[in-house]
Symmetry: C2
């Protein structure tokens, strides 16, 4: 197997240099480029073949998550590993959903990086230890009292999320609109929110929708 043609994208040139040095002696990969913004990378990809991209989330011109998606759309064979300092779960999840094959924090060991690269190029998704912890750790949202909903309430909640009015829902469920209204108000109370808009947002955060 040929060496993996690898490019590094990071807004800090120092990080690029550091990674280059660290990975210089790897037998199975070759650093063919380093870029400090998304535009430079995209321009390069149009002419040169690349196997692996080590990508930072924070870039001056484009969001790394969006960039990830763009690359995957146009060059679906390229493996992307995110190398970032962001420890928010939502960001990690989003990069994965956008096609990244893994996520490492910048303080990961070279060993972890090696392992993740190896795993990623064979089609797996790989996280560094710390990232696994972040993913598995229950969110504050989940820790804080998730209201206990009754069956009817859940039902009405999801219908509300579909943009239905109390009257719509009442018709659908063969209820009085006034009843639906009561349920709606109970939901708003239980979630301690001000209106249905916030209710939907809260429900979504607690993965009830």
């Amino acid at each position: 197997m040929n060496k993996l043609r690898t490019v590094i994208v990071d807004d800090h040139p120092i990080v690029i240099e550091g990674l280059k040095t660290l990975l210089k002696n790897e037998a199975n990969l070759e650093i063919v480029g380093g870029f400090s913004d998304g535009a430079g990378l995209l321009f390069y990809l149009n002419t040169e073949p690349v196997d692996l991209i080590l990508l930072d989330v924070t870039l001056p011109d484009i969001n790394g998550m969006d960039l990830c998606q763009m690359i995957k759309e146009r060059f679906s064979t390229i493996t992307i590993l995110i190398l970032s300092n962001h420890t928010e779960r939502s960001i990690i999840m989003q990069t994965i959903q956008n096609g990244a094959s893994g996520y490492l924090l910048k303080n990961s060991s070279l060993d972890e990086l090696r392992q993740c690269i190896a795993s990623a190029v064979t089609g797996n998704i790989c996280y560094s230890k710390e990232v696994v912890e972040i993913i598995s750790r229950p969110t504050k949202n989940q820790l804080r009292n998730t209201p206990q909903l009754t069956r009817r309430e859940k039902q009405i909640l999801s219908l509300l999320a579909e943009g239905k009015t109390s009257q719509n829902i009442a018709q659908e469920l063969f209820l009085s609109p006034l009843t639906v209204d009561t349920h709606r108000r109970n939901l708003i109370q239980k979630f301690e929110v001000k209106n249905v808009a916030e209710l939907i947002a809260a429900a979504h955060q607690q993965q009830l929708l």
Copy 2:
């Protein structure tokens, strides 16, 4: 290292038996139990030590995702692998967020199962090939025209998600309430939804919140 004390939870007894047979000859694990519902499992866990759970999502008495979370809360050292037929990304993600160390489809090969078990017990998160594809594949949501929002619209969208009224928002942004109203209506039009409730749901699905 001792053998991994493993239990299987699935609402189909046949699946339990099948897995038992398949894993019977594994050197590094021992099937110590099989349950067809959550209650049985929880009862067992209270008295017997367990290292690994192969867990189905569909159970008669409790949702596998919730069960996963419960187990992790009480017995944080137990490794949970989800073995399911559900191919929806949201379900996969949610099990992972609830502490599962991996997700396999039931038609995965024994080899994949072995690999995932090995990987999971060392603290990684592991998906079977097909699952990796599901996760990486862009959702229809993302494929279908995600409306292009202006800066103001994004701003107002997120304030709406906080349950704020047009007047609140107007005050906060030093605008006329009527202006905010216009933006709100444009948002509703752009997303092709009926009201703010559905707007928030749609925005959430497209990860704009």
